[in-house]
Protein backbone atom coordinates (compact mmCIF):
# COMPACT_ATOMS: atom_id res chain seq x y z
CA UNK A 1 0.00 0.00 0.00
CA UNK A 2 1.35 3.48 -0.86
CA UNK A 3 2.31 5.93 1.88
CA UNK A 4 -0.39 8.59 2.17
CA UNK A 5 0.93 10.62 5.05
CA UNK A 6 4.52 10.86 6.21
CA UNK A 7 5.80 13.02 9.03
CA UNK A 8 9.46 13.95 9.04
CA UNK A 9 11.01 14.88 12.40
CA UNK A 10 7.83 16.80 13.22
CA UNK A 11 8.41 19.13 16.16
CA UNK A 12 6.35 21.78 17.90
CA UNK A 13 7.79 24.01 20.56
CA UNK A 14 6.00 26.48 22.79
CA UNK A 15 8.74 28.51 24.43
CA UNK A 16 11.15 25.94 25.80
CA UNK A 17 8.51 23.21 26.01
CA UNK A 18 8.48 20.52 23.34
CA UNK A 19 4.88 19.50 22.71
CA UNK A 20 5.86 17.26 19.81
CA UNK A 21 9.45 16.18 19.55
CA UNK A 22 10.88 14.85 16.30
CA UNK A 23 8.07 12.48 15.33
CA UNK A 24 8.68 10.58 12.08
CA UNK A 25 6.03 8.10 10.99
CA UNK A 26 4.58 6.75 7.76
CA UNK A 27 0.88 6.05 7.38
CA UNK A 28 -0.16 3.89 4.48
CA UNK A 29 -3.42 3.92 2.54
CA UNK A 30 -6.22 2.32 4.53
CA UNK A 31 -4.16 2.27 7.73
CA UNK A 32 -5.80 3.36 10.98
CA UNK A 33 -3.12 4.69 13.28
CA UNK A 34 -4.11 5.11 16.92
CA UNK A 35 -2.07 7.69 18.82
CA UNK A 36 -2.06 6.85 22.51
CA UNK A 37 -0.24 8.12 25.56
CA UNK A 38 -0.83 9.79 28.91
CA UNK A 39 -2.44 13.24 29.26
CA UNK A 40 -0.10 15.95 28.02
CA UNK A 41 1.95 13.52 25.96
CA UNK A 42 1.37 15.58 22.80
CA UNK A 43 -1.30 13.42 21.12
CA UNK A 44 -3.67 16.25 20.16
CA UNK A 45 -0.78 18.61 19.39
CA UNK A 46 0.56 16.00 16.95
CA UNK A 47 -2.86 15.67 15.31
CA UNK A 48 -3.22 19.46 14.89
CA UNK A 49 0.09 19.50 13.04
CA UNK A 50 -1.18 16.99 10.50
CA UNK A 51 -3.76 19.37 8.99
CA UNK A 52 -1.58 22.39 9.80
CA UNK A 53 -3.97 23.95 12.31
CA UNK A 54 -0.69 24.58 14.14
CA UNK A 55 2.65 25.26 12.52
CA UNK A 56 5.53 22.86 13.10
CA UNK A 57 8.56 24.50 14.69
CA UNK A 58 10.64 22.17 12.55
CA UNK A 59 10.07 19.14 10.36
CA UNK A 60 7.20 18.73 7.96
CA UNK A 61 4.44 16.46 6.67
CA UNK A 62 4.18 14.92 3.23
CA UNK A 63 0.68 14.27 1.89
CA UNK A 64 0.79 11.77 -0.96
CA UNK A 65 4.41 12.73 -1.55
CA UNK A 66 3.92 16.51 -1.50
CA UNK A 67 5.34 18.66 1.26
CA UNK A 68 2.17 20.12 2.76
CA UNK A 69 3.71 23.60 2.98
CA UNK A 70 3.41 23.70 -0.80
CA UNK A 71 -0.36 23.20 -0.66
CA UNK A 72 -2.86 25.99 0.00
CA UNK A 73 -4.00 25.42 3.64
CA UNK A 74 -7.68 25.26 2.66
CA UNK A 75 -6.95 22.58 0.05
CA UNK A 76 -4.81 20.62 2.53
CA UNK A 77 -7.60 20.72 5.13
CA UNK A 78 -10.19 19.57 2.65
CA UNK A 79 -8.03 16.54 1.90
CA UNK A 80 -7.18 15.94 5.56
CA UNK A 81 -10.55 16.04 7.35
CA UNK A 82 -10.98 16.25 11.09
CA UNK A 83 -13.55 15.16 13.65
CA UNK A 84 -13.05 16.68 17.08
CA UNK A 85 -13.89 15.47 20.57
CA UNK A 86 -16.92 17.73 20.86
CA UNK A 87 -18.96 18.27 17.74
CA UNK A 88 -18.94 21.97 16.89
CA UNK A 89 -21.88 22.60 14.58
CA UNK A 90 -22.68 25.92 12.96
CA UNK A 91 -26.08 27.48 13.67
CA UNK A 92 -28.69 26.39 11.13
CA UNK A 93 -29.91 23.13 9.71
CA UNK A 94 -28.12 19.80 9.37
CA UNK A 95 -28.05 20.40 5.60
CA UNK A 96 -26.37 23.81 6.10
CA UNK A 97 -23.68 22.05 8.11
CA UNK A 98 -23.13 19.23 5.65
CA UNK A 99 -22.81 21.72 2.82
CA UNK A 100 -20.30 23.93 4.64
CA UNK A 101 -17.14 22.33 3.20
CA UNK A 102 -18.34 22.19 -0.45
CA UNK A 103 -19.58 25.81 -0.16
CA UNK A 104 -16.03 26.93 0.61
CA UNK A 105 -15.06 25.74 -2.86
CA UNK A 106 -18.09 27.36 -4.47
CA UNK A 107 -19.93 24.04 -4.78
CA UNK A 108 -23.41 23.09 -3.67
CA UNK A 109 -23.83 19.76 -1.89
CA UNK A 110 -26.60 17.91 -3.72
CA UNK A 111 -29.50 17.21 -1.32
CA UNK A 112 -29.53 13.59 -2.52
CA UNK A 113 -25.88 13.18 -1.53
CA UNK A 114 -26.57 14.85 1.81
CA UNK A 115 -29.44 12.40 2.41
CA UNK A 116 -27.15 9.46 1.59
CA UNK A 117 -24.55 10.74 4.05
CA UNK A 118 -27.17 11.12 6.74
CA UNK A 119 -28.54 7.65 6.07
CA UNK A 120 -25.00 6.34 6.37
CA UNK A 121 -24.43 7.96 9.77
CA UNK A 122 -27.78 6.70 11.03
CA UNK A 123 -29.74 9.93 10.85
CA UNK A 124 -32.30 9.43 8.05
CA UNK A 125 -34.76 12.31 7.71
CA UNK A 126 -32.60 14.77 9.64
CA UNK A 127 -31.69 16.97 6.67
CA UNK A 128 -33.80 19.97 7.69
CA UNK A 129 -33.44 19.53 11.45
CA UNK A 130 -32.11 22.49 13.40
CA UNK A 131 -28.75 21.48 14.90
CA UNK A 132 -29.70 23.23 18.16
CA UNK A 133 -32.06 20.33 18.91
CA UNK A 134 -29.62 17.46 18.38
CA UNK A 135 -28.28 15.24 21.16
CA UNK A 136 -24.52 14.88 21.68
CA UNK A 137 -24.42 11.58 19.82
CA UNK A 138 -26.50 12.94 16.90
CA UNK A 139 -24.32 16.04 16.70
CA UNK A 140 -21.20 13.89 16.51
CA UNK A 141 -22.77 11.83 13.71
CA UNK A 142 -23.52 15.06 11.83
CA UNK A 143 -19.93 16.22 12.28
CA UNK A 144 -18.70 12.90 10.85
CA UNK A 145 -21.03 13.25 7.86
CA UNK A 146 -19.88 16.88 7.42
CA UNK A 147 -16.24 15.79 7.34
CA UNK A 148 -17.11 13.06 4.79
CA UNK A 149 -18.93 15.58 2.57
CA UNK A 150 -15.48 17.01 1.77
CA UNK A 151 -14.39 13.58 0.50
CA UNK A 152 -11.14 13.60 2.46
CA UNK A 153 -8.18 11.32 1.72
CA UNK A 154 -7.18 11.23 5.38
CA UNK A 155 -9.45 11.51 8.38
CA UNK A 156 -8.13 12.79 11.71
CA UNK A 157 -10.15 11.75 14.75
CA UNK A 158 -9.46 13.55 18.02
CA UNK A 159 -11.00 11.37 20.74
CA UNK A 160 -14.24 11.22 18.75
CA UNK A 161 -16.25 9.36 21.38
CA UNK A 162 -14.80 10.61 24.66
CA UNK A 163 -17.36 13.39 25.13
CA UNK A 164 -20.35 11.08 24.48
CA UNK A 165 -22.49 9.14 26.93
CA UNK A 166 -22.04 5.38 27.10
CA UNK A 167 -25.07 4.66 24.90
CA UNK A 168 -23.84 6.91 22.06
CA UNK A 169 -20.19 5.96 22.43
CA UNK A 170 -20.39 2.41 21.09
CA UNK A 171 -22.78 3.44 18.29
CA UNK A 172 -20.44 6.19 17.03
CA UNK A 173 -17.41 3.92 17.34
CA UNK A 174 -19.04 1.16 15.29
CA UNK A 175 -20.17 3.71 12.72
CA UNK A 176 -16.66 5.09 12.34
CA UNK A 177 -15.22 1.62 12.02
CA UNK A 178 -17.68 0.72 9.27
CA UNK A 179 -17.19 3.97 7.34
CA UNK A 180 -13.38 3.74 7.52
CA UNK A 181 -13.54 0.17 6.16
CA UNK A 182 -16.08 0.98 3.43
CA UNK A 183 -14.25 4.03 2.14
CA UNK A 184 -10.78 2.57 2.79
CA UNK A 185 -9.96 5.80 4.59
CA UNK A 186 -6.53 6.48 6.00
CA UNK A 187 -7.04 7.54 9.60
CA UNK A 188 -5.08 8.97 12.49
CA UNK A 189 -7.05 8.65 15.71
CA UNK A 190 -6.09 10.12 19.06
CA UNK A 191 -7.48 8.15 21.97
CA UNK A 192 -6.73 7.73 25.64
CA UNK A 193 -8.64 4.44 25.57
CA UNK A 194 -6.26 1.58 24.75
CA UNK A 195 -9.18 -0.83 24.34
CA UNK A 196 -10.69 1.47 21.70
CA UNK A 197 -7.33 1.61 19.92
CA UNK A 198 -7.28 -2.18 19.91
CA UNK A 199 -10.82 -2.36 18.49
CA UNK A 200 -10.38 0.25 15.77
CA UNK A 201 -6.75 0.64 14.78
CA UNK A 202 -4.37 -1.33 12.59
CA UNK A 203 -1.26 0.32 14.06
CA UNK A 204 -0.39 2.20 17.23
CA UNK A 205 1.91 5.09 18.04
CA UNK A 206 2.71 5.64 21.71
CA UNK A 207 3.78 9.17 22.59
CA UNK A 208 5.33 10.32 25.83
CA UNK A 209 6.43 13.92 26.38
CA UNK A 210 5.99 14.44 22.66
CA UNK A 211 8.38 11.66 21.71
CA UNK A 212 7.70 8.33 20.05
CA UNK A 213 7.97 5.59 22.65
CA UNK A 214 6.70 2.74 20.50
CA UNK A 215 5.30 2.40 17.00
CA UNK A 216 4.09 -0.69 15.23
CA UNK A 217 1.10 -2.89 14.58
CA UNK A 218 -1.53 -3.32 17.28
CA UNK A 219 -0.09 -6.75 18.05
CA UNK A 220 3.48 -5.47 18.29
CA UNK A 221 2.70 -2.51 20.51
CA UNK A 222 -0.25 -3.53 22.65
CA UNK A 223 0.22 -7.28 22.91
CA UNK A 224 4.00 -7.45 23.21
Amino acid sequence: MPVVLRTERLTRLIGERKLVDGVSVEIRAGEVLAVVGPSGSGKSSFLRLLNRLDEPSSGTVFLQGTDYRQLPPSELRRRVGMVTQRAVLFPGSVYDNLGFGPRQRGEQLAPELARKLLDRVGLPGYLEHDVAHLSGGEAQRVSIARALANEPTVLLLDEPTSALDEASKSGVESLLKEIIAERELTCVMVTHDVAQAERMATSVLVLEQGRVQRHGTVGEVLHA
Binding site: E75, V88, F90, F100, G101, Q104, R146
Partner: protein, 263 residues
Amino acid sequence: MLNRFFTDQLYLGLAQSAAAGLVAFGVVLLARSRKVHLESEAAVALLRGLVQIVAVGSVLVALLRGPQWTSIFLLVAMVLAAAAISAKRAKGIPGSYRIAAWSISCGAGSVIAVMTILGVIDTAITALIPVGSMLIANAMNTTGLALNRFRSDVLAHVGEIETALALGAKPNESIAPYVQSSFESSLIPAIDSLRSLGIVWIPGMMAGMLVSGSRPIYAAIYQFVVMAMIFASSGLTSLLCTMLVRSHAFTDAEQLLLRGESH
Protein backbone atom coordinates in the same frame (compact mmCIF):
# COMPACT_ATOMS: atom_id res chain seq x y z
CA MET B 1 -22.14 79.06 45.79
CA LEU B 2 -18.42 78.70 45.00
CA ASN B 3 -18.39 81.85 42.88
CA ARG B 4 -19.19 83.84 46.00
CA PHE B 5 -15.92 82.74 47.57
CA PHE B 6 -13.68 82.85 44.49
CA THR B 7 -13.56 85.88 42.29
CA ASP B 8 -10.47 84.78 40.36
CA GLN B 9 -11.46 82.40 37.54
CA LEU B 10 -8.41 80.14 38.05
CA TYR B 11 -9.13 79.61 41.76
CA LEU B 12 -12.82 79.14 40.98
CA GLY B 13 -11.89 76.43 38.45
CA LEU B 14 -9.68 74.65 40.97
CA ALA B 15 -12.43 74.78 43.60
CA GLN B 16 -14.97 73.44 41.08
CA SER B 17 -12.53 70.64 40.16
CA ALA B 18 -12.13 69.75 43.81
CA ALA B 19 -15.94 69.67 44.26
CA ALA B 20 -16.42 67.46 41.19
CA GLY B 21 -13.50 65.26 42.30
CA LEU B 22 -15.10 64.85 45.76
CA VAL B 23 -18.36 63.69 44.19
CA ALA B 24 -16.43 61.21 42.02
CA PHE B 25 -14.53 60.02 45.08
CA GLY B 26 -17.87 59.53 46.87
CA VAL B 27 -18.90 57.16 44.08
CA VAL B 28 -15.59 55.30 44.49
CA LEU B 29 -16.32 54.89 48.22
CA LEU B 30 -19.82 53.69 47.42
CA ALA B 31 -18.32 51.12 45.01
CA ARG B 32 -15.86 50.09 47.72
CA SER B 33 -18.75 49.32 50.07
CA ARG B 34 -19.96 46.89 47.37
CA LYS B 35 -16.45 45.37 47.27
CA VAL B 36 -15.60 46.96 43.92
CA HIS B 37 -12.15 48.50 44.34
CA LEU B 38 -11.64 51.43 42.00
CA GLU B 39 -9.71 53.68 44.39
CA SER B 40 -6.28 53.76 42.80
CA GLU B 41 -7.54 53.49 39.19
CA ALA B 42 -10.12 56.26 39.69
CA ALA B 43 -7.66 58.52 41.53
CA VAL B 44 -5.04 58.14 38.81
CA ALA B 45 -7.64 58.63 36.04
CA LEU B 46 -9.08 61.77 37.66
CA LEU B 47 -5.67 63.30 38.33
CA ARG B 48 -4.44 62.34 34.88
CA GLY B 49 -7.55 63.78 33.25
CA LEU B 50 -7.12 67.09 35.08
CA VAL B 51 -3.41 67.37 34.24
CA GLN B 52 -4.00 66.41 30.60
CA ILE B 53 -6.84 68.84 30.00
CA VAL B 54 -4.98 71.71 31.71
CA ALA B 55 -1.90 70.86 29.61
CA VAL B 56 -3.98 70.85 26.43
CA GLY B 57 -5.52 74.18 27.47
CA SER B 58 -2.02 75.62 27.89
CA VAL B 59 -0.90 74.21 24.54
CA LEU B 60 -4.00 75.70 22.90
CA VAL B 61 -3.14 79.10 24.34
CA ALA B 62 0.33 78.78 22.79
CA LEU B 63 -1.04 77.48 19.48
CA LEU B 64 -3.56 80.28 19.15
CA ARG B 65 -0.62 82.63 18.89
CA GLY B 66 1.22 80.41 16.39
CA PRO B 67 0.66 79.62 12.69
CA GLN B 68 -2.39 77.57 11.68
CA TRP B 69 -0.47 74.57 10.32
CA THR B 70 0.69 73.67 13.84
CA SER B 71 -2.80 72.27 14.48
CA ILE B 72 -1.93 69.31 12.21
CA PHE B 73 0.83 68.24 14.59
CA LEU B 74 -1.52 68.43 17.53
CA LEU B 75 -4.12 66.31 15.70
CA VAL B 76 -1.47 63.73 14.76
CA ALA B 77 -0.30 63.58 18.38
CA MET B 78 -3.92 63.07 19.46
CA VAL B 79 -4.33 60.20 16.97
CA LEU B 80 -1.16 58.48 18.22
CA ALA B 81 -2.22 58.86 21.86
CA ALA B 82 -5.73 57.60 21.00
CA ALA B 83 -4.22 54.58 19.23
CA ALA B 84 -2.09 53.73 22.27
CA ILE B 85 -5.09 53.96 24.61
CA SER B 86 -7.46 51.90 22.46
CA ALA B 87 -4.77 49.28 21.71
CA LYS B 88 -4.71 48.48 25.43
CA ARG B 89 -8.19 47.01 24.97
CA ALA B 90 -6.74 44.48 22.54
CA LYS B 91 -4.44 42.46 24.74
CA GLY B 92 -3.16 39.46 22.80
CA ILE B 93 -4.03 40.80 19.35
CA PRO B 94 -0.79 41.05 17.39
CA GLY B 95 -0.08 44.52 15.98
CA SER B 96 -2.95 46.13 17.89
CA TYR B 97 -1.23 49.54 18.10
CA ARG B 98 -0.66 49.64 14.34
CA ILE B 99 -4.25 48.54 13.71
CA ALA B 100 -5.60 51.27 16.00
CA ALA B 101 -3.27 53.94 14.62
CA TRP B 102 -4.16 53.21 10.99
CA SER B 103 -7.88 52.93 11.72
CA ILE B 104 -8.12 56.17 13.68
CA SER B 105 -5.84 58.17 11.39
CA CYS B 106 -7.62 57.02 8.22
CA GLY B 107 -11.14 56.93 9.74
CA ALA B 108 -11.23 60.10 11.80
CA GLY B 109 -8.48 61.77 9.75
CA SER B 110 -10.29 61.49 6.44
CA VAL B 111 -13.56 62.83 7.90
CA ILE B 112 -11.71 65.77 9.48
CA ALA B 113 -9.90 66.46 6.18
CA VAL B 114 -13.03 66.29 4.00
CA MET B 115 -15.13 68.34 6.40
CA THR B 116 -12.39 70.96 6.70
CA ILE B 117 -12.04 71.20 2.91
CA LEU B 118 -15.83 71.54 2.58
CA GLY B 119 -15.79 74.29 5.19
CA VAL B 120 -17.93 72.39 7.67
CA ILE B 121 -15.06 72.58 10.17
CA ASP B 122 -13.48 75.99 10.39
CA THR B 123 -9.74 76.04 9.74
CA ALA B 124 -9.19 78.29 12.76
CA ILE B 125 -7.27 76.40 15.44
CA THR B 126 -9.95 77.25 17.99
CA ALA B 127 -12.49 75.29 15.89
CA LEU B 128 -10.35 72.63 14.24
CA ILE B 129 -8.70 71.31 17.40
CA PRO B 130 -11.82 70.95 19.59
CA VAL B 131 -13.98 69.47 16.80
CA GLY B 132 -11.12 67.28 15.55
CA SER B 133 -10.44 66.03 19.06
CA MET B 134 -14.10 65.08 19.45
CA LEU B 135 -13.94 62.98 16.30
CA ILE B 136 -10.64 61.39 17.33
CA ALA B 137 -11.83 60.67 20.87
CA ASN B 138 -14.98 59.00 19.61
CA ALA B 139 -12.99 57.05 17.01
CA MET B 140 -10.73 55.93 19.86
CA ASN B 141 -13.70 54.67 21.89
CA THR B 142 -15.08 52.87 18.85
CA THR B 143 -11.71 51.25 18.15
CA GLY B 144 -11.34 50.15 21.77
CA LEU B 145 -14.83 48.65 21.75
CA ALA B 146 -14.33 46.93 18.39
CA LEU B 147 -10.99 45.41 19.40
CA ASN B 148 -12.26 44.36 22.79
CA ARG B 149 -15.40 42.73 21.38
CA PHE B 150 -13.44 41.04 18.61
CA ARG B 151 -10.95 39.62 21.09
CA SER B 152 -13.60 38.28 23.47
CA ASP B 153 -15.76 36.86 20.65
CA VAL B 154 -12.83 35.09 19.00
CA LEU B 155 -11.62 33.66 22.31
CA ALA B 156 -15.14 32.42 23.05
CA HIS B 157 -15.47 30.79 19.60
CA VAL B 158 -12.07 29.21 18.97
CA GLY B 159 -13.80 25.84 18.42
CA GLU B 160 -16.14 27.23 15.74
CA ILE B 161 -13.37 29.12 13.94
CA GLU B 162 -10.98 26.18 13.88
CA THR B 163 -13.76 23.80 12.84
CA ALA B 164 -14.45 26.06 9.87
CA LEU B 165 -10.74 26.18 9.01
CA ALA B 166 -10.50 22.39 9.33
CA LEU B 167 -13.32 22.09 6.80
CA GLY B 168 -11.40 24.17 4.29
CA ALA B 169 -12.79 27.64 5.05
CA LYS B 170 -10.65 30.70 4.41
CA PRO B 171 -9.81 32.78 7.50
CA ASN B 172 -12.14 35.61 6.47
CA GLU B 173 -15.07 33.22 6.16
CA SER B 174 -14.31 31.47 9.45
CA ILE B 175 -14.22 34.71 11.39
CA ALA B 176 -16.92 36.69 9.56
CA PRO B 177 -19.66 36.48 12.27
CA TYR B 178 -17.29 37.86 14.93
CA VAL B 179 -16.01 40.67 12.71
CA GLN B 180 -19.61 41.68 12.06
CA SER B 181 -20.60 41.58 15.73
CA SER B 182 -17.58 43.64 16.80
CA PHE B 183 -18.36 46.23 14.11
CA GLU B 184 -22.01 46.46 15.15
CA SER B 185 -21.37 46.62 18.88
CA SER B 186 -18.65 49.23 18.54
CA LEU B 187 -21.12 51.62 16.91
CA ILE B 188 -23.84 51.29 19.54
CA PRO B 189 -22.65 54.34 21.57
CA ALA B 190 -22.41 56.55 18.46
CA ILE B 191 -25.88 55.49 17.27
CA ASP B 192 -27.40 55.93 20.73
CA SER B 193 -25.82 59.38 21.06
CA LEU B 194 -27.32 60.41 17.73
CA ARG B 195 -30.70 58.96 18.70
CA SER B 196 -30.84 60.70 22.06
CA LEU B 197 -29.49 64.01 20.83
CA GLY B 198 -31.45 66.85 22.36
CA ILE B 199 -33.82 64.51 24.20
CA VAL B 200 -31.59 62.85 26.78
CA TRP B 201 -28.61 65.16 26.54
CA ILE B 202 -27.49 68.51 25.22
CA PRO B 203 -23.83 68.10 24.29
CA GLY B 204 -21.12 70.39 25.60
CA MET B 205 -20.36 71.88 22.21
CA MET B 206 -23.88 73.23 21.81
CA ALA B 207 -23.90 74.48 25.39
CA GLY B 208 -20.58 76.23 24.75
CA MET B 209 -21.88 77.89 21.57
CA LEU B 210 -24.98 79.10 23.43
CA VAL B 211 -22.85 80.50 26.25
CA SER B 212 -20.61 82.28 23.73
CA GLY B 213 -23.63 83.96 22.13
CA SER B 214 -24.34 81.92 18.98
CA ARG B 215 -27.92 81.78 17.69
CA PRO B 216 -29.60 78.80 19.43
CA ILE B 217 -30.90 77.32 16.16
CA TYR B 218 -27.44 77.47 14.56
CA ALA B 219 -25.90 75.97 17.73
CA ALA B 220 -28.43 73.13 17.52
CA ILE B 221 -27.86 72.49 13.83
CA TYR B 222 -24.09 72.59 14.21
CA GLN B 223 -24.32 70.14 17.09
CA PHE B 224 -26.17 67.77 14.76
CA VAL B 225 -23.40 68.30 12.20
CA VAL B 226 -20.79 67.37 14.82
CA MET B 227 -22.74 64.27 15.86
CA ALA B 228 -23.12 63.19 12.23
CA MET B 229 -19.38 63.67 11.73
CA ILE B 230 -18.70 61.65 14.89
CA PHE B 231 -20.91 58.88 13.55
CA ALA B 232 -19.20 58.93 10.15
CA SER B 233 -15.69 58.92 11.56
CA SER B 234 -16.55 56.25 14.16
CA GLY B 235 -18.17 54.07 11.50
CA LEU B 236 -15.26 54.41 9.11
CA THR B 237 -12.74 53.81 11.90
CA SER B 238 -14.57 50.71 13.08
CA LEU B 239 -14.85 49.38 9.54
CA LEU B 240 -11.12 49.82 8.98
CA CYS B 241 -10.28 48.45 12.41
CA THR B 242 -12.33 45.27 11.95
CA MET B 243 -10.89 44.75 8.47
CA LEU B 244 -7.32 45.15 9.72
CA VAL B 245 -7.75 43.09 12.87
CA ARG B 246 -9.21 40.25 10.81
CA SER B 247 -6.00 39.92 8.84
CA HIS B 248 -3.90 40.07 12.02
CA ALA B 249 -5.77 37.21 13.67
CA PHE B 250 -4.22 34.53 11.43
CA THR B 251 -0.79 33.45 10.30
CA ASP B 252 0.15 33.27 6.62
CA ALA B 253 -0.61 29.54 6.83
CA GLU B 254 -4.19 30.39 7.91
CA GLN B 255 -3.76 29.35 11.54
CA LEU B 256 -5.68 31.17 14.24
CA LEU B 257 -3.27 33.19 16.40
CA LEU B 258 -5.68 34.46 19.01
CA ARG B 259 -6.41 31.27 20.93
CA GLY B 260 -5.81 32.17 24.56
CA GLU B 261 -3.91 28.96 25.28
CA SER B 262 -0.78 27.19 24.14
CA HIS B 263 -0.89 24.07 21.98
